[in-house]
Amino acid sequence: MTGWMYLWFPDLYLHSLDAATPQEPVAILDPQEQRIVQLNAPAQALGVRRDMPLASALFLCPALTTRTLSLSHEQQLLQQRALWAGHYASFISLHAPQGLWLEVGSMLKLFGGLSAYWQRIQQDCEEQHWPVHIATGHTPLAARWLALANAGEPTFARDKLLPRLQALALDELPLSDAQRVALQRLGIHSLEQLLRLPLANIGQRVDIELMNTLRQLKGDVSHPLTPFDVPPSFSQHAECLHDIEHRNGILFPLKRLLEGLCGFLHQQQLATRELILTLTHREPPDSIWRFALASPEYRYPELVQLCRYQLEKQRLRAPATALRLDVAKLSSRAPAQSNDLLAHKGADREQTNQHQHAPQTGLLNRLASRLEAEQLQCLYPTGDPRPECAWHTMSAAEHSTVSQLHKAPHVRSHRGHWPFWVLPHPSPCSAPTTLIAGPARLDSGWWDHAPIRRDYYQALLGNQLAWVFRDDRGQWFIHGFYS
């Protein structure tokens, strides 16, 4: 079943600047005509209107902050939205300047039905402070028209959608001025009236284009949509309304970029181990901050958290005017995927390890981002029979490389009943009087020229159960205690 959803992001550009909420009036200007195209609530309150010339707007509201719309940046913003939408659909089509089509029908099973799906999207956008109009439709155009009028309802059923469509007023439809005038002259004020006219008639009386549009709306002819192709690499930038003077200010635009990044990583089934943040200042050069991750990551909350920690460690050289996010060290997420889909016999243990692995690496990344590299050391079992060499520490980065290359040797937990508390260095002692268990003989370690020959026993020293050994010269040592 195919079903279409249209997401319409009103005032996309304005919202990208985080200008929707502040108290000061903000307006976005058309690049050619110096007219207002987008504006926020305070500006509106002061009487500024859409399509108003800049001069009039400034007359009404001298404190109006304006930005000129950059078409290319607007296009990029829509792309970022499309990348984010990649979480929800595999077929996405951009509809510049502010709309996205998602093919939804095939995804519903995955998300547990249309209302759940709808809700997830709505929730996501709310959390990210993106106002959105959502609508579904049996044809792409139906979805779009309903979205523009913000009259969507989570259904694909034609008979439920039709009344809503019919109720749309002519003003709410994206028609050209000429079409609108021609229809008004025919005495048509709503879509219901329009749809009642014979199509051929419309072709004659208005124009062929409208006729075709209506055919597409009904689904009589196909509506070709260009699919959005995920770019091979990720590099997106964000602009700021005001210069960012403190590192804390970076987080908001950065989060917007991370949404796109996570969508990108999701669609490509990749994870990253390095984020590269480039800050543009009024004076060159740009600042380049590299955030290294201890293990590959792809989840939005984790990445946001990591950036938060990393930002705390940074200092702004000068106020930033814009920022760009790139990623490097991409790695495939194949293992995690096989986890979900290909859980086969024999891999059970590995699988549970993997599951435990996920939160662990999250923690590791967080720790790594807060501490200096040498402050964070991982334990690594070596499998060596000698207690002194049974494990060693390594930096987190080294650890993740090593554990990617080899499966860590599992520690022989049953290895001769080693106690939990092993002394870093054995300490000499007198021959114990009460041996409880043993001997366990260790005679190994020739490969690094520090071989040992010892007989280990469990012995009572006073009232403590100790792990003692006798070396090949007959000297006794304590090497640990049992709890």
């Binding site: 499998g383 040797p409 366990a440 005679d443 007989d455």
Partner: protein
């Protein structure tokens, strides 16, 4: 000492066992063990070595034959107390091996339940005990023990400690053993190294897989008494007492299929020889020859070798029927009997019988006859043998692939974590040198840094370790009954090939018959030439002066054996003028005579520049044919008997040890004896050293006179063809490629020099094969065209006008 070790792996459990079977039995005898069971994992490959060592050194140690099997239900050690149980065990191993790819085996405890003779020592895993103890107790009433092995490491908790409670639950007796992997604890390093080679990762990467102590060695009595209760130790002796089987009991029966019913083997053989005589000596058999035949037949009858000869006769008859050319060689091949049975074409009238010896009465080993077949058609002969005797009665002998310097260096270096470029560097230090025993000093000096010393130590012990079993080039073992009753069979890497678990030497030790079905590319070329000329080998005129004249000019490109640079160098100096000169020619350019500096003295004496001298009068009959210079392996052996007072058995040992002299130490004993005795008999030191070097040279590429005689015949035949029918011979050579020393272009060039007209490949006239035309010219065939195949060629030939 009151102990018998019943669970001991040798290094024939590849990459687990860290001691040779010989070392294990020596050490066990030294410690005073009553008995030692060699129980390699699903294999009996090591038992013959152990058996031989015990016999040769008359050790007072009983050898027990057994085998270990492992799966996740535990470790199973099966022991064969008698001949019937041995057959059972051998069959079981064969089944397990045959069901798995080469080098692996399939084991299921359920397969044990119908064994009626074998004793079972069982070290169950906890789940295995629950699952199987009832069934096994029932199937092995009075033949099942729980195997208690204390290794003083983390495994004890799993395998040793539960034994006592299990014994109580099940009422089974317990027996102690050592899970022996090596003869001395010092071998643990090597054992770790083998583990790392097995897992193909450096030692430091697989530390969790290493044994954490060296307890898996043959322990002393004091130690055993401290570790095990005395009744568990005593139980080992009770089990050893029940084991009465010895490998000597394996009475091998020759296949009798080839003797028709109603004939005695001796009568039938005589009949065949008489039939052959009529063809071979149409003018009646000369008296001397008749006497030799009688003598040979009597010896064959005495040693009961009739079936062997009849079997060979049968195989050769098949080849003759199929028009597959073949030629026998080997110690027994150049006898009159073999000539009459068509095993060889070497006419005893032409060559005086080289030695009286062809099967010596003292030697307790089967006669050795190798038969060379045309390489392109040998498979037919093999298939015939399989088909005639059946797959369960015929199998190829194994060749034990052992660590040689290069492979040992590489594997040890890898396991010590050297990078691949460092490994390469190390191996290249060795490569291409013949440094003698001192090569190790050049590659890894004893006074080097610690890593070098470790490398040296491990490489030295790893040298000569068996690595895997491979199939022998053509040695077939054929038995009267099921072969798997005698020796386990396993899969070879080639599909549909089975090999037995013993090699040539093992077969010799136990007196099993082996038929060597070898392949020789030149035989194909000869057969093609003769077919073209419509001749038989016997039709070729002998002692043709023109042929010898050609050889004396070193004009020998394409001629069998004497076409190499070294041989071409020798031809004008030796100037062969008769058949026997060719025998000398093929044997002289060999490591033996060269290392022994025997070449120049021989040439000088032959050319009359120096008088032959015989250090002892007794040596004259041995050395006369070669002007007083020992050239052949047989001569050196006979020489040892006369000049160094070796007994026949000792001399025989010398001969055999030459073949395996790389197992160090072995040769040394005999060398010292040879030297002492020769000194005593008045030889000077320089001469003795030359003889010894020659012996070492033979060790690498032994080439006895009997082989040389057979090869010389092929040399003569190919030289004759080249001399009189160069075109036919060239076409045959080209059609038999790849073979020989020279590339097709070199062969063609050489033929052009001999005025052979060569027609290029012609789409209208060529065939797939090269073709000798009636006018002596040669038309090249399509097989020279790159990327062209036989089918296309045939289609083309059919379609053209």
């Amino acid at each position: 000492m009151n102990y018998a070790e019943l669970h001991c792996l040798s290094n024939f459990t590849f990459l687990r066992g860290a001691s040779h079977p010989e070392e294990l039995v020596q050490r066990a005898a030294e410690l005073g063990y009553q008995a030692l069971a060699i129980t390699d994992e699903c294999s009996l490959s090591g038992v013959v070595c152990a058996h031989r060592e015990i016999t040769e050194h008359a050790l007072s140690l009983k050898l027990i034959i057994g085998s270990e099997f492992r799966d996740d239900t535990g470790v199973y050690v099966l022991i064969a107390p008698d001949r019937q149980a041995y057959a059972e065990l051998s069959q079981l191993i064969s089944r397990a091996r045959r069901a798995a790819p080469k080098g692996e085996y399939c084991f299921d405890p359920a397969g044990l339940l119908d064994l009626t003779g074998c004793l079972l020592l069982w070290q169950p895993s906890p789940s295995g005990f629950e699952a199987w103890h009832k069934a096994l107790t029932k199937a092995f009433t009075g033949r099942l023990w729980l195997l208690a092995e204390r290794t003083l490491d983390e495994h004890d908790a799993q395998t040793f400690l539960p034994i006592q409670p299990w014994a109580k639950t099940s009422g089974l007796p317990v027996v102690a053993a050592g899970n022996v992997h090596m003869h001395l604890p010092q071998r643990q390093k090597l054992q770790d190294c083998l583990t790392s080679i097995r897992l193909n990762r450096p030692v430091t990467d697989i530390r969790e897989h290493l044994f954490c102590n060296a307890e898996r060695h043959l322990r002393s009595e004091r130690k055993l008494k401290r570790l095990y209760p005395s009744d568990w130790l005593a139980e080992t002796l009770r089990i050893a007492e029940r084991c009465q089987f010895s490998l000597d009991e394996l009475s091998y029966l020759y296949p009798t299929d080839s003797v028709p019913s109603g004939h005695t083997p001796a009568g039938y053989l005589r009949k065949l020889v008489e039939q052959g005589q009529a063809i071979r000596f149409p003018g009646g058999t000369p008296k001397a020859i008749q006497a030799t035949i009688e003598k040979e037949l009597a010896l064959i009858a005495l040693k009961k070798y009739e079936h062997y000869f009849v079997t060979l006769y049968d195989i050769v008859q098949f080849a003759r029927r199929q028009n597959i050319l073949c030629q026998g060689r080997g110690s027994a091949a150049n006898s009159v009997v073999c000539y009459c049975l068509f095993l060889t074409e070497v006419n005893p009238q032409e060559v005086q019988l080289l030695f009286e010896r062809f099967i010596s009465e003292e030697r307790h080993e089967p006669p050795d006859i190798d038969i060379d077949f045309e390489s392109q058609r040998r498979e037919e002969v093999m298939q015939y043998i399989y088909q005639r005797y059946g797959r369960d009665r015929a199998a190829l002998a194994a060749t034990v692939i052992r660590y040689r310097p290069r492979s040992a260096l590489r594997d040890v270096a890898k396991s010590l974590g050297l990078s691949s470029s460092e490994q390469e560097q190390l191996v290249s230090k060795y490569a291409g040198r013949y440094l003698g025993k001192e090569w190790m000093d050049h590659v890894l000096p004893a006074d080097g840094p610690a890593l070098t010393r470790t490398l040296r130590e491990l490489t030295t012990s790893l040298l000569g370790f068996p690595r895997h079993l491979s199939q022998h080039v053509g040695g077939f073992v054929i038995a009267e009954g099921a072969l798997a009753d005698l020796v386990p069979l396993e899969n070879a890497s080639m599909a549909d090939r089975t090999v037995i678990q013993w090699d040539k030497e093992d077969l010799e030790t136990l007196g099993l018959m082996k038929v060597d079905i070898l392949s020789l590319g030149m035989m194909t070329a000869i057969r093609r030439s003769l077919n073209h000329l419509g001749m038989q080998i016997s039709d070729v005129p002998r002692e043709d002066p023109a042929t010898y004249k050609m050889l004396q000019k070193a004009d020998s490109v394409g001629v069998f054996q004497v076409e190499s640079r070294a041989q071409m160098n020798m031809l004008p100096r030796l100037k062969p003028a008769c058949y026997y000169d060719l025998v000398v020619q093929v044997s002289i350019v060999r490591p033996g005579p060269i290392h022994g500096d025997m070449v120049h003295p021989y040439l000088k004496r032959r050319n009359g520049q120096e008088a032959p001298d015989y250090p002892l009068e007794g040596l004259r009959p041995i050395l006369e044919r070669t002007h007083g210079v020992p050239l052949f392996q047989e001569q050196v052996i006979a020489f040892a008997m006369v000049a160094a007072d070796f007994t026949a058995a000792e001399a025989d040992q010398l001969r055999r040890s030459m073949a395996s002299w790389r197992k160090k130490g072995h040769m040394h004993k005999l060398q010292t004896r040879l030297r002492d005795n020769m000194l005593k008999n008045g030889f000077d030191d320089a001469y003795i050293q030359r003889i010894q070097r020659q012996l070492e040279g033979f060790g690498e590429y032994g080439f006895p006179e009997s082989h040389a005689a057979s090869f010389a015949l092929l040399v003569y035949l190919t030289a004759w063809l080249k001399c009189h029918h160069p075109g036919v011979f060239l076409a045959a050579l080209l059609n038999s490629q790849p073979m020989g020393f020279y590339s097709p272009s070199q062969l063609i060039n050489d033929a052009r020099h001999h005025q052979v007209v060569i027609h290029p490949v012609d789409v209208n006239h060529s065939h797939w094969d090269h073709e000798a035309l009636d006018d002596g010219s040669v038309r090249l065939g399509f097989r020279l065209v790159n990327g062209f195949n036989r089918e296309a060629s045939e289609r083309l030939e059919q379609q053209r006008p």
